[in-house]
Amino acid sequence: MALKLADYKTDVHNDWCPGCGDFGIVNALQMALAEMGIKRDKATIFSGIGCSGKTSHFINTYGVHTLHGRVLTFAQGGKLANPEMTVVAVGGDGDGLGIGAGHFVAAGRRNVDMTYIIFDNGVYGLTKGQASPTLKLGEKTKSLPSPNTNYNVNPIGLAVASGFTFVARGYSYDVRHLKDLIIKAVKHKGLSFLDVLQPCPTYNDINTRDWYAGVDLAKESIERHSRIYKLEETHYDPVVHYAEESEVNEKLSQALIKSLEWGNKIPTGVFYQNEIISPYETRITDKIPNYLENPPTKQKISENGLPTTDVSEILDSLQV
C-alpha cells in the first residue's frame, strides 16, 4: 500500500510558535519522505537540541532526539552500523555551527551517505533569542542587550571547505522547492547539506518573512522584489562533472563566491555537488569487502548463546 503524507505525521502536539519557519521544514521533510516512498521503519530522523530538535517527534519514522551539537555524531554512528537506513539529521544553526562546529567539519571530511539540514535563523530561540552563529556582526535582534559582537559563520562556505559533497540552501516558506531539494539531498551519494533559511518570528526581527520577501524593497521598486532567488533559474552549474583538479577547484570556488551573496539577492538551490569523491561507506568497503552486505547491525554473533566468532588464528599466533 502506497504511503501517504499523513502516514509520516505523528499526533504529537507541535508547540512551535505560530508562524514559525520550522513548520515549513518539517512539512517539506514529510512530503519528501512520502514522495520517495521510503518505508517508515527504514528511515531515522536524528535531531539536535532546541526548537528544531523536536522535529524528530513530529515525524512518524524512527526518531532520535540527541544532544546539543552532537546530532551528526549519533547519526553517523547509526548510519555506519546500518547503512541500508535512510538517515536525515536536523538541528539549528547554533547547534550545528556553534557548539557542534567541530563535528560539522569532521562529518564533511568523512562524507557518510546521509543528509544534514540546518534550521538557520540567527538566534537561539528556546533560550530566548541570544545571537547564534549565523547572525551578522553588529546586528541587534530583538532580545539582544547590545549588537552582536561576533562575525557570522558562512554555512555554505564552511560546508564546501569541509568536504560536504552536496551543498544547498532552501527557504522554509518555499516548501515545494525545499521538498525537491531534500529529495535531491537524500538521493545524493555522500553527505548532503541543506542550509534552510527559517525566520524566527519571535526573536529574529531582522531576517523576517517580510524581509526575505523584500517588502522593504517594494517601496523602492515596483519590480519583483523578493530577496530569494533560485540558482537553477540562472546559468549556475553546481556539478563537478569530471575528476580533474581544475574542474573541482572551479566548482568549489564558484560555490564559495556564490555563498557570499547576501543582502538584496539571496541565492537558494544547489551550490555544489560532487559525486566523484567516495562516500565513507565505499572507503570502508575498500577494507572490508562485504561491509554493505553484512554490516554491523546484520551480523550474527552467536548461536545458542555461544559466540561464533573464530579467533583461533589470533590465539594460536600468541601461543608460546
Partner: protein
C-alpha cells in the same frame, strides 16, 4: 609449599625510540618459548624520542602476577639507564653496560631532570663518589653486583669485519639487540630460541632479521665466552600447556571480537588507543559456518563524537563500544547520561592513567573510580566493573556486554595503564567460556510497540533502528513510553523508578562470584579493585611462605555496589586494609558509604608507577608488626 626455583628480573632501559620495547619483546618471547612464565611492564615518558624508557621483565617457573623491586640483571646501552637504575640491582646481580660511557657525568645526560639529579648528587656525595657512570658503578661493585663492561662500538666493529658487512659499523640501532643477546649469553639461554624469536619479530623484514641475527649471535657468543662468573642461569623449564604471551590490551580487544562487538569508535589517547588500533588491524573476523564478519572501527574527531557514534550504532542493535582514558571520558559524560535515560546498552572501556587533567599522561593510576561511578549529571543507572588482570579482562569484556544488554545500561569497564603496558604469559583465552545474552533485544515486532513500556522488571523489550514495525523515539528529555517528550509529573516518577530499579535488579541477578572474588579472609584482610590484584596475590603468597595469612577480597562490581555481599564476605576480618593506586582511597570512600565499617589501613601509590609485590609485602609486614601509619604511601620505581 614449593619455593620458586627461578625468580629472575631483567631490566632493559634506553632512550625512547631506541628499541627498548622490541628488545624486551625478544627477551620475553625467548623466555616464554622455553617454558617460563613472564610478567613484564613498560615505563615511558610522554615523549616520542629521547626520554628514558625501560622495561622490567620478571621470569619464573611458577605463575607470577607482578614485578618485584629487585633487578637481577640490568642490560643498558646508555648512561641514563645506569644512573636511574643501578640502585635497583640486587647483590649478586649484574649490570651489562657500554664501557665507552664510564666517564660520562650526570650533566652530559640532558634528559635527567633536575629533581632527580639533585637527589642523585646528594647520594653520591654522601658516598664520596664522583657524579659519573664510573662513580655509580663503583658503588654497585661495592654492593656485590657483577659488572659486565662491553664496548658496543668495538663489538660492532669486530662483528662487521667478522661477517664482512661494513654497514654494521656504528649502527647504533642494533644496540638493543646486542644488549638482549649479551644478557641471554650471560644467563646461558639456548641461543636457537633467540634467533627464532628475532625471525618471528622481523618476519616481514628478512634483511633486518638477517643483520639482527648476526649481531645477536655474535653478542651471545661474546658474553658466554667472556663472562663466566654470573650465578644465575635460565636454561628452560617444563612448558605449561596452552600458554599465550599477551600484551595489555589483548584481553579487551580479543574479548570484544569474540563477544560480538561490531562497532568501535575512538579518539586517540594513551593508554587506550592500542586497543582500537588492534581491533582495526584485525577488522575482518572469521565466523563459524558463516561469511566473514567485521568490526567497524571509526576514529572520530573527539571523544564526544566517539561516544555519540557508539550510541548511534548501539541503537541499531549492534554491540558497540569505545575505549578511552580519563581526559577522554570526561568529555563523554554528557552523552553517558543520554545513554542512561534512553536505556542504550554500550560499553566504555576506560583505561585509566594518572590525573587530574593530563596528569602523568603515560603513567599508571586508578584515579577514576569515583569519577566513573558518579559520571554524568542527574540520576541514571549504569554499571561500573573492574578487571584485575589481562586474562580476566578477556572474560570480563564478555560480561560487560551482557550486563549492558540485559539491563539496557551503559557499562564502564575499568582498566588501567598498569594492565595496558604489561606483557604477560597466561592461560590461552577460552572462548567457550564466553556467553552472549542480548537480553530483551527484539528480532521482530508485532502489534503496537512502546520502547519504554512499563514492565514488571523495569526492562522494556528493545527494538532497533531499521527493524520492521519497531518504530520508537528517543530523547534526552524525560519521555513517555513511546519515547516522546513528557513533562508530566506522574510519568516522571514512574520513568525514574523504572530506570533506577534496574540497579537493584542487576545486584540481584549478577552472580556473586562476578561481583567480588575472595582470595581468603583472615584477621588482616585486604580490599582492593582492578590491577592491584597481581601484586597483592604475589605479596599474599610471599607472606604465606613465612606462615602469615593475609586475606584479600577483590571487588569487581563497583557500581551498583554490592554492599551486603561484601559485608558478609568480610565478617571474619578484624582489620581491613585498602590498597589502591590513587591519592584518596577511592574504593575506601565507596566502601564506607555502603558499609558502616571503618578501614584501618590504606596502602596507596600515586607516583604513576605500578605497585610491585615487594612494596605491598613490605607495607603489610609493617602493618602486622604494628609499625605502619594509617596511610602507607608507596614510591618505588623510576
Amino acid at each position: 609449599m614449593s619455593v620458586n626455583s627461578v625468580d629472575f628480573s631483567w631490566l632493559i632501559g634506553g632512550p625512547q625510540g631506541s628499541g627498548v620495547e622490541s628488545g624486551a619483546n625478544i627477551f620475553s618471547q625467548v623466555c616464554a618459548t622455553i617454558g617460563y612464565q613472564i610478567f613484564g611492564k613498560r615505563e615511558f615518558y610522554s615523549n616520542i624520542k629521547g626520554e628514558h624508557s625501560y622495561f622490567a621483565v620478571r621470569v619464573s617457573d611458577e605463575n607470577i602476577h607482578s614485578n618485584v623491586n629487585d633487578v637481577t640483571l640490568m642490560a643498558s646501552f646508555d648512561a641514563e639507564t645506569i644512573f636511574r637504575h643501578f640502585d635497583e640491582v640486587s647483590p649478586n646481580g649484574g649490570i651489562i653496560y657500554d664501557s665507552e660511557l664510564e666517564n660520562v657525568d650526570t650533566d652530559r645526560v640532558r634528559t635527567l631532570d633536575s629533581q632527580f639529579k639533585e637527589r642523585l648528587h646528594k647520594f653520591l656525595k654522601s658516598k664520596n663518589k664522583p657524579f659519573t657512570i664510573a662513580g655509580v658503578l663503583e658503588l654497585a661493585k661495592e654492593k656485590g653486583i657483577h659488572l659486565y663492561p662491553v664496548s658496543f662500538k668495538d663489538l660492532l666493529e669486530n662483528l662487521s669485519q667478522d661477517v664482512d658487512n661494513p654497514k654494521l659499523r656504528g649502527l647504533v640501532r642494533m644496540y638493543n639487540v646486542i644488549a638482549v643477546s649479551l644478557s641471554l649469553g650471560l644467563i646461558k639461554m639456548p641461543p636457537d630460541s633467540l634467533l627464532n624469536s628475532i625471525d618471528a619479530i622481523f618476519s616481514k623484514k628478512p634483511q633486518i632479521a638477517k643483520i639482527n641475527k648476526q649481531a645477536a649471535n655474535y653478542s651471545y657468543n661474546y658474553a658466554s665466552a667472556k663472562f663466566a662468573n654470573f650465578e644465575h642461569s635460565l636454561t628452560g623449564t617444563k612448558k605449561q600447556s596452552d600458554t599465550i604471551l599477551v600484551q595489555g590490551h589483548y584481553g579487551t580487544s580479543i574479548g570484544k571480537m569474540v563477544c560480538g562487538c561490531r562497532f568501535q569508535s575512538y579518539y586517540p589517547i594513551t593508554p587506550a588507543s592500542d586497543e582500537s588500533v588492534y581491533l582495526e588491524s584485525n577488522e575482518i573476523l572469521q565466523v563459524q559456518n558463516d561469511r566473514p564478519g567485521s568490526t567497524a572501527v571509526i576514529q572520530t574527531e573527539d571523544e564526544i563524537s566517539a561516544m555519540g557514534m557508539m550510541i548511534g550504532a548501539a541503537l541499531t542493535g549492534t554491540r558497540s563500544s569505545t575505549s578511552t582514558s580519563g581526559p577522554g571520558f570526561a568529555l563523554m559524560t554528557e552523552a553517558l547520561g543520554w545513554a542512561g535515560i534512553n536505556e542504550v546498552p554500550v560499553v566504555i572501556t576506560l583505561y585509566q592513567r594518572s590525573g587530574p587533567s593530563t596528569g602523568l599522561p603515560t603513567r599508571h593510576g586508578q584515579d577514576d573510580l569515583l569519577f566513573a561511578v558518579n559520571a554524568g549529571h542527574g540520576d541514571f543507572p549504569k554499571i561500573v566493573y573492574a578487571s584485575g588482570d589481562i586474562e580476566e579482562s578477556f572474560y570480563d569484556t564478555g560480561k560487560c556486554f551482557n550486563y549492558a544488554d540485559l539491563y539496557q545500561v551503559p557499562v564502564i569497564h575499568m582498566m588501567d595503564k598498569f594492565l595496558s603496558s604489561s606483557v604477560v604469559t597466561c592461560k590461552k583465552f577460552d572462548t567457550s567460556k564466553i556467553s552472549i545474552d542480548r537480553g530483551k533485544l527484539l528480532d521482530k515486532v508485532e502489534g503496537e510497540y512502546k520502547r519504554f513500556a512499563f514492565t514488571d522488571d523495569g526492562i522494556s523489550p528493545r527494538s532497533k533502528l531499521g527493524l520492521d514495525n519497531g518504530i520508537f523515539w528517543n530523547t534526552g528529555d524525560e519521555s513517555d513510553q513511546y519515547g516522546h517528550i513528557s513533562e508530566d509529573s506522574e510519568n516522571r516518577i514512574k520513568m525514574m523508578d523504572k530506570r533506577m530499579s534496574k540497579m537493584d535488579l542487576a545486584l540481584q541477578k549478577i552472580p556473586t562470584d562476578e561481583q567480588a572474588v575472595s582470595f581468603g579472609v583472615h584477621d588482616y584482610t585486604i580490599i582492593s579493585w582492578g590491577s592491584t590484584k597481581g601484586p597483592i596475590i604475589d605479596a599474599q603468597s610471599m607472606l604465606k611462605k613465612e606462615g602469615i595469612d593475609i586475606g584479600f577480597v577483590q571487588i569487581k562490581l563497583l557500581h551498583p555496589f554490592p554492599g551486603k555481599y561484601i559485608k558478609s564476605l568480610l565478617k571474619n576480618a578484624t582489620t581491613l586494609i585498602d590498597i589502591e593506586a590513587n591519592h584518596s582511597g577511592q574504593l575506601g570512600k565507596i566502601f564506607k558509604q555502603n558499609i558502616s565499617r571503618e578501614i584501618e589501613y590504606y596502602i596507596l601509590k600515586y607516583t604513576g608507577r605500578g605497585m610491585t609485590s615487594t612494596e605491598i609485602y613490605d607495607s603489610l609486614k609493617k602493618i602486622i608488626e604494628n609499625k605502619a601509619a594509617t596511610r602507607e604511601v608507596l614510591n618505588h620505581g623510576a
